[in-house]
Symmetry: C2
């Protein structure tokens, strides 16, 4: 992992994978077919892309039970405890409707309503991601979303991973469908004979999934398009190099395009972390991926002063930030942009991936400047409420009409003035 | 305005203007040029599209003062009162950071931070829209956004409307630039020598502005792409036809593609509103636009029962909804999807456009199913905060490591396990 002086640092921004023109066309074609032909198209694409020939798309009760029995009881308990922690955290995020009443009889307010239906995409591949199920479904459930529809690609035998089914089962999600890729996003956006249409789609996926989400955006809502995982560690000389290195590598193993950055004002720490990364790297099962990631997107940024180090973090606006200093809470107010902030030596980043409670769906690639972790508000929407009293309208009708006329909108002025008939 | 029985009603959804392939290419070219050449490109496009040859892009102090003097004092007071009402409403929307501490020493929380810089697009054209300035700028100011940058296209003489400058002046916005179209969006997204880059762009515009916002989305945040204005009125036999008709027409005058819909279970009301619309329409200065809108997108939906009428409203998910019944508050809990809900006969829709306080930037074209009025939260973002104690990590490290290994992520497991050294 290279050490770079802050003064030599260029932009850390990575380009987002927008897909090729051909990939975009493929995705548009898939969406059009699913819109038109429903289940028939979904099954054909599943056979073509996932090599699975399915009679039924929906996961059966028997399959849920089998998944439950296949994993040992101790692990089931760990999953349940994680779900409990995640639910407890998200319950604190709930917003409430409010009203404000004036003496003239006017009531103004904001009503919060859950969306009707949410769709969750759970990626397939070699590993099963029960944590993805929890992190996407729980905020929707806490928000009060009644209908939750999950999709995940099957393997060649038409099966989906036990861990995913178990996680869905623990949360009481019954609408799980064996479909992935752009065809899954199309099915969620427009519905088929079997798969219900939803109002918002969340969850990560490959480039086809990301392109399909961009295509259907507007007809339904989507979460942010996720980029590769990132960690930045802000540490001073009190940090332990072995721990910092281990945490940097925990993100590097995700993806060859993941980014791991240490920002420090301590040259001794910079050097010992560099050594530790090298030695720990070789002993990792996913060493090839992690090595590539460290070489291409890993670095140690050495700053002249602590303030410069803090500024560097705000420039990066990292997905995950660890603050490892004598008194990390003192730094919290200075951190303006980060998806999740882990304070102190025991708050190793994986604590937040699975267990502590906060969401692991976080803004990547500098979008923490303007985006938030997935949260309960993402599954609700607001309506303004306006109840004007007769008194309020009498007091203000002429002002409102004048304002409307200045903007050239005569019918607006007349609409409020019509009410004058009532007190003539 | 046609009367349709609910049972004969097809979907009310209108297609969103996605622009032509040529328009998209033009917009991409403009963005690339502004990115590369900054102010030079901005001025060239302004000369080409707006016919204005500008030396300086920024509005001067003198121009603000001139705008202030050009409008009479009484109108200035109306604007100030509107700004006060809008500020008061949005101040109630403020979310606060929170923390939760456990007995084992763990602290979990959610930190709210304003975005650094917001950009507001104010459309040009024949009318000046000071209300647009208020509705986009005030939520950002209340959120605590330090840098607010406004752009608006100049006329051929290089001037921008007095009403817009006055509104900006009242709010203390000094960064106002004479630029519109896709070139304005590109300048806000990437910055030029003169125009500062921002993190989020809001405000309505023509198809080029909308396409440019879609293009830069991801590099910066944007608000929703707005469609034509809509009103739905849910009324029973107690409503006055003249008032309902006037309110329907207040939206119809906006745009030939605006939509005005009455939903009722009262046939006498349906018929008298139909007559009133006809007679009021002919007397409007913008009668041509309103007539086209009423013909193409206006209708009266006659329902068999009141429940069916309420369901119809939730299917439409209108931008503006008026509820005109004996006891409109009783209906509030049944309304699931609407941008703004106006209750009772005195809450004519224009009351909310300018004066009452809630925002007039609202979700259109059925997106109230999943979107909200522009609000203070749109200009802030959340960061999760996780401070795990040694005790908490000791209690949970083995569970977290096991969860990580089930997902195939060994470096995640080792990262937390490294901390065991501390209590060995």
């Amino acid at each position: 992992m290279k050490i770079i002086n802050k003064s030599d640092l260029k932009s850390l921004k990575r380009s987002v994978d927008q897909g090729t023109e051909e990939q975009r066309k493929t995705v548009q074609e898939i969406i059009a077919q699913v819109k038109q032909q429903g289940d028939k198209a979904v099954k054909e694409y599943t056979e073509r892309f996932d090599k699975a020939k399915l009679d039924a798309l929906k996961v059966t009760k028997g399959e849920f039970e089998q998944a439950y029995d296949s994993l040992d009881g101790e692990f089931v308990e760990i999953l349940k405890e994680a779900a409990k922690n995640i639910t407890a955290f998200h319950e604190k995020q709930r917003s409430t409707s409010w009203f404000d009443s004036s003496e003239d009889g006017t009531i103004l307010g904001q009503k919060i309503t859950p969306i009707d239906a949410a769709g969750v995409y759970v990626p397939g591949g070699t590993a099963a991601y029960p944590s993805s199920v929890f992190m996407n479904v729980i905020p929707a459930q806490v928000a009060g979303v009644k209908k939750i529809v999950m999709v995940t690609p099957p393997d060649e035998d038409g099966n989906v991973p036990d861990g995913v089914l178990l996680a869905a089962h623990i949360l009481g999600v019954e609408d799980v469908y064996k479909v992935g890729g752009a065809q899954a996003i199309a099915a969620l956006a427009y519905g088929t004979e079997t798969i219900p249409a939803v109002d918002k789609i969340t969850g990560p996926g490959n480039v086809f999934v990301a392109l399909a989400k961009r295509e259907v955006f507007g007809d339904v809502d989507i979460d942010m398009i996720a980029g590769p995982s990132e960690i930045a560690v802000l540490a001073d000389e009190t940090a332990r190099a072995s721990e910092i290195a281990a945490d940097l590598l925990s993100q590097a193993e995700h993806d060859a395009r993941s980014s791991s950055v240490l920002v420090t004002n301590s040259e001794p720490l910079a050097q010992s972390v560099q050594k530790e990364v090298q030695s720990q790297l070789d002993r990792l099962p996913r060493a090839d991926i992690a090595r590539q990631s460290v070489e291409d997107y890993g670095m140690i940024v050495l700053c002249e002063t602590w303030d410069e180090a803090v500024d560097t973090i705000n420039e990066i606006a990292p997905e995950h930030l660890e603050v490892v200093t004598e008194d990390p809470f003192q730094e919290l107010g200075k951190i303006k942009h980060a998806g999740a902030i882990f304070l102190g030596p025991y708050s190793s980043e994986p604590v937040g991936d699975y267990f502590a409670g906060p969401n692991h769906v976080l803004p990547t690639n500098g979008t923490a400047r303007f985006s938030s972790p997935l949260n309960v508000d993402d599954f609700t929407k607001k309506s303004s409420v306006i109840s004007y009293s007769r008194q309020a309208l009498e007091n203000n009708v002429d002002k409102i009409a004048r304002f409307a006329r200045l903007e050239g909108l005569e019918a607006h002025a007349r609409a409020v003035e019509t009410r004058k008939e009532r007190w003539k």
